[in-house]
Structure formats: structure tokens, C-alpha cells
Amino acid sequence: MTLLQVDHMTHFFSGLRAVHDFNLAIEPGEIRGLIGPNGAGKTTIFNLITGIYTPTEGKVFLNDENLLGLYPHKIASKGIGRTFQDLRLWRHMTVLEHVKMARYSQLTYGLWGAFLGTARRRREEAESENRAMELLSLLGVDHLADQLVVNLPYGAQRRVEMARALAIEPKILFLDEPTVGMTPEELVQIMAIIRKIHQKFGLAIFLIEHRLKFVMDLCEQIQCLVFGEVIAEGSPDDIQNNPQVIEAYLGKDAIEA
């Protein structure tokens, strides 16, 4: 059964066509890549699926359940975790608090539990803390649990953001350019981490990336987006040798030369 399905999705920003007739079907456990030059509409597609924008046309299903028109937090709690290209961390919160916070939808003690500090709240908060620590140690940042995120180096911040996205217990994880601004060593580490969490949780992963080599190594299927339209789709080898993709990335001269 298809995990995430997008049918004929089109979106306009007041007259400007950002995405045109986008189709997608991701199976459970698959790693899918989405590449394309700057401004092609890759992040817009993430925002459309996760409910930040509502598509002008088209349909989105997760496990055959319609996601259109739901609030972003509802969509997220149905099992779509995501990271942001520009690291949207909460600057006054510690690492542990970040990961605990993402387990918000799993808490059942409610507002009265919060006001009155009931036994149920203590139990759930403790359980949440244990789960959060497990995730932090999986990503190798458990020793930083009590640090404020703003004090961490960039690579550690990336890991915290990924741990946070995993804490919502997603079925599919959206990674928006996870390697942006990373050194080659950090790149190797993040690749290993993505492989590790993919294996451990059996997650499907939907990946936006700029670095072709990274996508080619990780993904089974890749789509190439240019000006909001998919111009090529296939295995890494197909994409690499597709003349249209090369043209989009390197310009027309590269093929003729």
C-alpha cells in the first residue's frame, strides 16, 4: 500500500504558478529524493504537503487518509515529521526540552493536568523524557541534553532538529536540505545517521537536496523539479544521465559541448 500519495497538485501564489501537476507515491520504508535548482519549488512542495499552504488543486493522502484542509499540527501528528532548511529551533529551550516538546500530541494529561501537576502528568512527562533521551543518544547528542540549543555548534543543532522530528514518531520524515552548510566530515556523519534511523525505525524518507552525490548515494528514486514542474523521474543512474537534468543544472552549453 502506498504510504504518501500526492495527485495532480498545483499551486499558485496570487497568479504565480509555483507548482504544476505534481504527482508522488512513496512506499513505506522508501527513501525518495527531490532535486532541482534554487527556486524550483521544492520547499513549497514540502509546505503544501505538511499543510502550511493549501494547494490550489490536487489531493494529498497519507495511508489513504485525506490530508487536505487539516491544520499543520494535525498533519504532523498523523505521522509526517520534518526538518527545516533554516533550522527552526526554539532559542530559549534546552536540547531535551526540544525533543520532549515534539511529543506534545502524545501527551494525554491535558490542560488541567498541566495546571494541577497530577500524578498522570508526572508519569507521562517522565516517560516522555526517557523516550527523548533515547533519541538523543541515538543521534549522539545526549551529553548536550541540558544545553541551550543556541550554544551548540551547527552540526549538533542539525542533529537536535532531526531528533525533534523523530520524536513525533513519524511514518515518513521530510528532510529539507539536511547537509546545507556542512563540512565534508559532517556530511559523512549525517549520511550515516540518516541510514541508521531509516533502518531502525523503518521510516520512509522524503529528501530535498542540492548535493547530487548525497542524493545519488541515498535514494532509490529521484524526481527533478524545475520551475515547479517535474522534468525527470527515475533511479539515480537515469537522472544522472538525463539530458534535461544536466541542462537544468549546468546550462544548455554543457550538452552541446
Binding site: I52, P72, L89, H92, M101, A102, Y104, L111, R121
Partner: protein
């Protein structure tokens, strides 16, 4: 005591270090004993000592008022040519001596000498439940307030108003600090609470020319006071929906303006509804806001608010403040969070308003205007954003300052804003911002070397 300064090496320099080291091994319990000793000393010998020192009566607020009265006399002589009595200048050193004998000395001596005993006690209390330990500390604190406030009516009312200010400041900190919105509507919530609880008490139990004759009369009517307060709080909570719903789509300056508009609407509503006394307001509230009642309500308020802001549900406010889109993506229901914050804060502001109405036993719409807003904002920003301790410190220091500086008359409104400006320059988020209030850590015993256990 001098020995503690020199025994260990290297000796830290400066008065602050010396004082810090002197009290390093004293737990909170020790200080409470010390303050209790002060109050008992003052009750026993305060009058005689004041006479002896040539002061006409016991200095009301630690002698600060006495000192500023003398200074104000001097200022008036210089600028207005008023008659000057040089004898009042003599009051300044005498007030300091009084403060030293009655307050400073007992605290230092008792807190220091009993530190072994109080540490053992605190240790024993820690073995029992945290609730019991907290209750013991609170009982001691209440005893101090009770004796201190019992000596003088003016003191009592300052104490009551300060406690109400603590609750009000803390409730505003939920919105302005924890959620990071600039809300100007707080006096409006307070007004709703004050009016609605007065409507309940005066309307039901008191013969009043605005609200009519008493509907009920029985001797235990004061037991309904918590009900009146909660009613006022809930009404304020409903009023808060008017701000909470726009906050789903609007943030920052625009929401601040909406909340300011709300304040004006509430104020002119109460000014124009003649059934609620119009601009003259409601008076004759029963004298039910006694010190134990206020103390209990404020303690419960601090406890509930502290519970809330330390839970994941409450920390969601910080997530919404720091990065709302990420909060949404991490399954946080931002609408519910904003609504909860506004309604919860308004509830406690309404409770504070109800208490205020029954402390002053008189309310009118003019009390809940821009002036009140400035006052409570000053307390929040002076004390520190996003911090329960900060709010307590801010409310207490601004309340006491504005009482203590009262003799300076108009100059008071230059001194307090000036202080505020200095705090904003050197500590832009307030004195004690972004710090958690950990009851267990506050109450725990201290080892002689000053390390926490």
C-alpha cells in the same frame, strides 16, 4: 564571623562575596527563622526603641519612608522655601540604627547561629514529602507576614496590595514573557474580575444604593468569597477570548493594539453602565479580603502558574513565541496553546482584581486605565520575563519602592522610571529572566562549605 572570611584560601574580595560566604550554609528555613526573630524583636521592643532614638513612631517600611520624608523636607525647603526643621535630618541616621538593631542584627545572628539546626531540620523535612516541606515553610512565612502586618494598619494594606501585585504580575508574565506577546489588556481583565466579584458579594449580601438591597443574609456569607473570586476570574477568562481569537492570525504590534483597544472598550463599558455604578463605581465591598485569604489565593496562584509553565503544555508557549511554524510542524496545537495562555492569565488577573476590590473596598473604572497598565508592565519588565521568581521580585520591589518613595511626591515619578531605564539598559530582559522556579532546590539544606546537596 570574621574567621569565615579568612580561613579558606584564596580569600574572595568584595562585600558581596563576604556576605555570600557568610550565609552560604544557611538554608531558606534559617532565613525564615531570622525574619521571624526580627518581627518578634520589633513587637517586643520596637516602640521603646523608636522613642529612645527620637523617632515619633516605629518606622513603617524598614525606615525607608522616614529617610525619604527627611529628604523631601529638605527638597521642599530648597525649592519652595518651606519651613525646615533640622531635627528631621537627625531621623536619617536614627532610622538606619533602628533598621540595624531590629532587622539586620537578628537576621544575621539567628540565621547564622541556627544554621546547623535549620540544616538538620531542612534535611528531615526533605525526607518527608515536598508538599509537607513547602507547607511548613509557607506557614513560617505567613507567621512573619501576620506579625509584621499586625503592628500597623498601613503596613497591612501595603502587604496586601503587594501580594495582589505579585499575582497580577505573574499572570501578565504568562502572556508577555512566556508567550512573548505584548498584551495591554491586563487592567481590563482585572476590571472584569473586580466588578464581577463585587457584583457577587455586594449584590447578594450587602444593602447598596446601586445594586439594591441584600438578597441573602446569613452569618457565614464570607465563606462564599472564594466563589465570588472564581466567578470574577472566569468572567475575565471569557473576556480574554476577545483577544485570544484575533491572536490566531495576528502577532506583535498589531495584537498589542488590539489588546489596547480591548482595555478601552472594557473601561468605557464600566463607565457607561449605570447599573454598575457608572463612573462612580461600586463601593462598600465586605471586608473579606483578609491577609490569610489573600495569602492563600496568591500561593495557589503561584503554584498553579508554576505548574503550568513547567509542563510541556506550558512550554509550548515558548515554542510558539520562538518559532511558531516549527511548533506547528512538531504537532503543537498553537491555537489551543494561545487560547489557554490568554484565558489562564486572564483568570488569575481577574482573581487579583477581585482581591483588590475587596482590599480597597471601593472600585471605579478610572482605577483600571493606562496608569495601572504602566504599573503592571513595569513590574513584569523590571522583575524579568519568563520567570516566576522574576515576577515576584519585580512586583515586590516596585510596590515597596512606590510606597517608600511616596514622601518625594512628584519626584517619585522621576525616580522609578529612571530605575526602570537603568534596568532596561543593563539587563534588557529584567533582573531575573528566563530562570526556572525549582521549589525542591529552594528548600533544600546547605552544607557548611556552601555547596548544594
Amino acid at each position: 564571623m570574621a574567621q569565615t572570611k579568612t580561613t579558606s584560601s584564596p580569600p574572595p574580595r568584595g562585600v558581596k562575596n563576604a556576605v555570600g560566604r557568610l550565609f552560604a550554609s544557611v538554608p531558606l528555613l534559617g532565613f525564615l527563622f531570622g525574619f521571624l526573630a526580627c518581627v518578634l524583636v520589633e513587637m517586643a521592643v520596637g516602640d521603646r526603641l523608636a522613642n529612645l532614638l527620637g523617632l515619633s513612631k516605629i518606622p513603617v517600611l524598614f525606615g525607608i519612608v522616614t529617610i525619604f520624608k527627611a529628604i523631601a523636607g529638605l527638597v521642599n525647603t530648597i525649592f519652595k522655601g518651606a519651613a525646615f526643621d533640622p531635627g528631621t535630618l537627625f531621623h536619617i541616621p536614627m532610622a538606619l540604627v533602628y533598621f540595624g538593631i531590629v532587622y539586620l542584627a537578628p537576621v544575621v545572628i539567628v540565621a547564622r547561629l541556627t544554621s546547623r539546626l535549620t540544616n538538620n531540620l531542612a534535611d528531615a523535612l526533605q525526607q518527608t514529602s515536598i508538599l509537607f516541606s513547602a507547607l511548613v515553610h509557607l506557614a513560617l512565612l505567613y507567621a512573619i507576614f501576620h506579625f509584621w502586618g499586625g503592628m500597623n494598619d498601613y503596613r497591612l494594606i501595603v502587604l496586601k496590595l503587594t501580594l495582589v501585585a505579585v499575582l497580577l504580575t505573574l499572570s501578565l508574565n504568562i502572556i508577555n514573557g512566556y508567550m512573548g506577546e505584548f498584551s495591554c489588556s491586563h487592567p481590563g481583565f482585572m476590571a472584569i474580575g473586580a466588578y464581577m466579584s463585587s457584583l457577587f458579594t455586594v449584590g447578594f449580601f450587602i444593602d447598596d444604593k446601586v445594586l439594591g438591597a441584600a438578597k441573602f443574609s446569613f452569618s457565614l456569607a464570607y465563606l462564599s468569597f472564594p466563589l465570588a473570586l472564581v466567578f470574577g476570574g472566569l468572567m475575565a477568562s471569557f473576556g480574554a477570548l476577545l483577544i485570544a481569537i484575533p491572536s490566531f492570525k495576528t502577532r506583535g504590534d498589531y495584537l498589542a493594539i488590539i489588546s489596547l483597544a480591548f482595555l478601552f472598550i472594557i473601561k468605557s463599558f464600566f463607565e457607561n453602565v449605570q447599573a454598575l455604578g457608572g463612573a462612580r463605581g461600586i463601593s462598600g465591598q465586605p471586608d473579606w479580603a483578609t491577609l490569610p485569604v489573600i495569602f492563600t489565593v496568591v500561593v495557589i496562584g503561584i503554584w498553579a502558574i508554576n505548574n503550568f509553565v513547567n509542563s510541556t503544555m506550558g512550554k509550548a508557549l515558548n515554542a510558539v513565541r520562538d518559532e511558531e511554524s516549527a511548533a506547528e510542524a512538531m504537532t503543537i496545537n498553537t491555537r489551543k496553546t494561545k487560547m489557554a495562555a490568554f484565558m489562564f492569565a486572564a483568570f488569575w488577573a481577574g482573581m487579583a482584581g477581585g482581591l483588590l476590590a475587596h482590599v480597597l473596598r471601593y472600585i471605579n473604572p478610572a482605577m483600571f486605565g493606562i496608569q495601572k497598565l504602566a504599573e503592571v508592565l513595569a513590574m513584569v519588565y523590571f522583575g524579568g520575563l519568563n520567570s516566576v521568581v522574576g515576577s515576584i521580585v519585580g512586583a515586590v520591589s516596585i510596590s515597596l519602592l512606590s510606597e517608600a518613595l511616596r514622601p518625594l511626591e512628584i519626584l517619585k515619578w522621576i525616580v522609578i522610571p529612571l530605575l526602570l531605564i537603568l534596568v532596561m539598559i543593563y539587563r534588557p530582559t529584567g533582573l531575573i529572566a528566563f530562570r526556572e522556579f525549582n521549589i525542591r532546590r529552594i528548600l533544600q539544606p546547605r552544607r557548611p562549605d556552601g555547596k548544594e546537596v
